[in-house]
């Protein structure tokens, strides 16, 4: 966990409103783990004031990749950065996905921009483990398949793949995994995570949920990002105790 002034390298458009940026950030890249995030200062002045948290999408050598949708001033500024500009990044932050355990099939479930952490996770899943990806979006253009393997898609409007939500699609396909030892890794909007949590907890499937929340500092001092513990006994902090939680640990 450190502050690194990182050089902005490039910005690629993935879908209509989704971008992938590449930055030169060797120190953070060296220690980053899948599912962790970085807190990025998108401007040099006090507007916007706070950093913006982004999942680490991928790591290639000394380079970090972040994927984001443009939906506010912060992300618009990030999209408009030019090559060579400096970005002030704190990272890697939080606790990422738990990869250790007895499973032969990794199921990735992503909703919308929830695809962001999976390229880096894919690389770190041991080679003998099969990866199956379920990706959901409102419409075809919101299904982000970037570097995803064995994709089954679901769209709310039926414009691509299964018509319905991605958790329903996963439930429909569950019997195909009867003979497999699966572990679910998921990232997406809270209603999706909650539906998935219900299914996995009921069926005793090990499920790792990457949750999203409003955040200020990103490393535990502001206490601004609580998530209720599953047993109701207080809160975890998403930035420090998460952003990835076992589905048995938190209430969504």
């Amino acid at each position: 966990m450190l502050i690194e002034k990182s050089k902005f390298i490039s910005n690629t458009s993935i879908t209509k409103n989704t971008y992938l940026i590449k930055v030169f950030s060797p120190s953070i890249a060296k220690t980053a783990k899948p599912g962790q995030f970085c807190n990025i200062k998108v401007s040099e002045n006090s507007f916007p004031l706070l950093r913006r948290p982004f999942s680490i999408c991928d790591v290639e050598g000394d380079y970090l990749y972040f994927m984001f949708d443009v939906h506010g001033e912060g992300t618009r500024l990030l999209r408009d950065k030019n090559e060579g500009e400096e970005l002030d990044i704190i990272g890697p932050l939080g606790i990422g996905f738990d990869l250790i355990g007895d499973y032969d099939t990794a199921i990735f479930i992503a909703g919308g921009l929830g695809s962001a952490p999976f390229p880096f996770l894919s690389k770190n899943i041991p080679a003998m483990i099969e990866i199956h990806s379920f990706i959901g979006g409102r419409s075809k253009e919101n299904v982000i398949e970037y570097k995803m393997k064995n994709v089954s898609a679901a769209t709310d409007d039926g414009s691509y793949g299964f018509q319905g939500n991605v958790v329903e699609l996963f439930i429909n396909k569950l019997t195909a995994y009867n003979t497999k030892k699966i572990r679910v890794f998921a990232c997406g909007p809270n209603p999706m995570l909650k539906a998935l949590q219900n299914v996995c907890n009921e069926k005793n499937i090990n499920c790792q949920l990457s949750v999203e929340t409003v955040m200020a500092c990103g490393f535990g001092i502001c206490q601004g990002c609580p998530i209720e513990k599953y047993n109701g006994d207080g809160y975890f902090l998403v930035c420090k105790d998460g952003p990835v939680f076992n589905s048995l640990a938190v209430k969504i």
Binding site: L49, V214, G224, I227
Partner: protein, 305 residues
């Protein structure tokens, strides 16, 4: 060796420099120590401690606003006992000057906390939070009441030999009246200001963005208000002032000292740049050299009006 004497005195408390890290923006020091050398900072003010642990408010606790942020954390803290057991040893280890912030829901609880903590050698002073806008009991209820502030000052002074600072609320008509009460009851300094009550609504859902409905506004948005409050106290009461409110840069810190602050606290800036305390320290030292100031304390209340 620095050419500038950066040391300051807040009442009987001597600090190596005027930079303090504000309560609620540094936790208990362990996380921020990853980014900054706490031994070089004038001191750190802990997250508010209450007698028993507090879970804090349910989410959503914060939201960003123009040049600021609203928070309603709800005084989430580990409680006095756990603080002594697990947090103080770390703070000793990093050799940081420790000011303990106390929040309570009754005068008795303020006194009890102070009494328990005063035996801890590493605690150099207490900052009494009578102005948290985000809890149902205590907090602003006290901060708005001259008599209560006076009583809390007097009663906590009775149980400790260490300096007592009272953290004042800006959500009052005449903040200098509160400073006068603290002064007359033997308080050693006032910290000004705590956050301003604010809110923000989502226009599509028509719901408040913060679960608590209102929160405390901090950040550069409140700086002019804070400066005005510090100046008001400075012109009306001889008590030392610790200036707080939206300091992001060394220039901001200098401004607080000019209008009357003996020391200042960095708050929201820690969330953005956890090393900002030391960056600011470097900036004010260079300013002093540049303007031939040999003692930083000469800056305090040096305004020309």
């Amino acid at each position: 060796m620095s050419k500038v004497d950066l040391s300051i005195k807040i009442g009987p408390l001597e600090l190596k420099n005027p930079v303090l890290l504000a309560s609620g923006t540094v936790g208990y020091g362990n996380e921020i120590a990853n980014f900054t050398d706490l031994s070089k900072i004038g001191g750190i003010v802990t997250k508010s401690l209450s007698l028993k642990p507090r879970l804090g408010n349910p989410p959503q606790r914060i939201t960003e606003t123009p040049s600021g942020m609203l928070n309603a954390i709800g005084l989430a803290n580990v409680g006095v006992e756990e603080f002594i057991k697990t947090k103080i040893p770390f703070l000793k280890e990093v050799n940081s000057t420790l000011i303990c912030n106390i929040a309570a829901s009754s005068v008795e609880e303020y006194v009890e906390c102070t009494k328990i903590l005063t035996d801890e050698e590493s605690i150099k002073a207490f900052e009494i939070n009578v102005s948290c806008p985000n809890v149902k009991e205590g907090g602003l209820e006290f901060g708005n009441d001259l008599k209560a502030v006076g009583r809390i000052t007097a009663e906590t002074k009775k149980v400790t030999d260490k300096p007592i600072f009272i953290k004042l609320s800006p959500n009052v008509a005449r903040i200098s009246e509160f400073a006068k009460v603290v002064y007359s009851e033997g308080g050693d300094a006032v910290s000004a200001i705590n956050t301003l009550v604010g809110t923000s609504f989502n226009i599509w859902t028509k719901r408040p963005k913060i679960k608590n409905i209102t929160g405390g506004l901090s950040g550069p948005a409140i700086r002019p208000v804070a400066l005005a409050k510090v100046l008001e106290i400075s012109r009306n009461c001889p008590i030392p002032i610790i200036g707080i409110g939206g300091i992001l840069t060394w220039q901001d810190a200098i401004e607080f000292m000019i209008v009357g602050a003996t020391a200042f606290q960095i708050g929201t800036a820690n969330f953005i740049n956890p090393n900002s305390g030391l960056d600011i320290l470097k900036g004010i030292e260079e300013f002093c050299i540049q303007t031939n100031i040999t003692k930083i304390s000469d800056l305090t209340a040096s305004y020309q009006i």
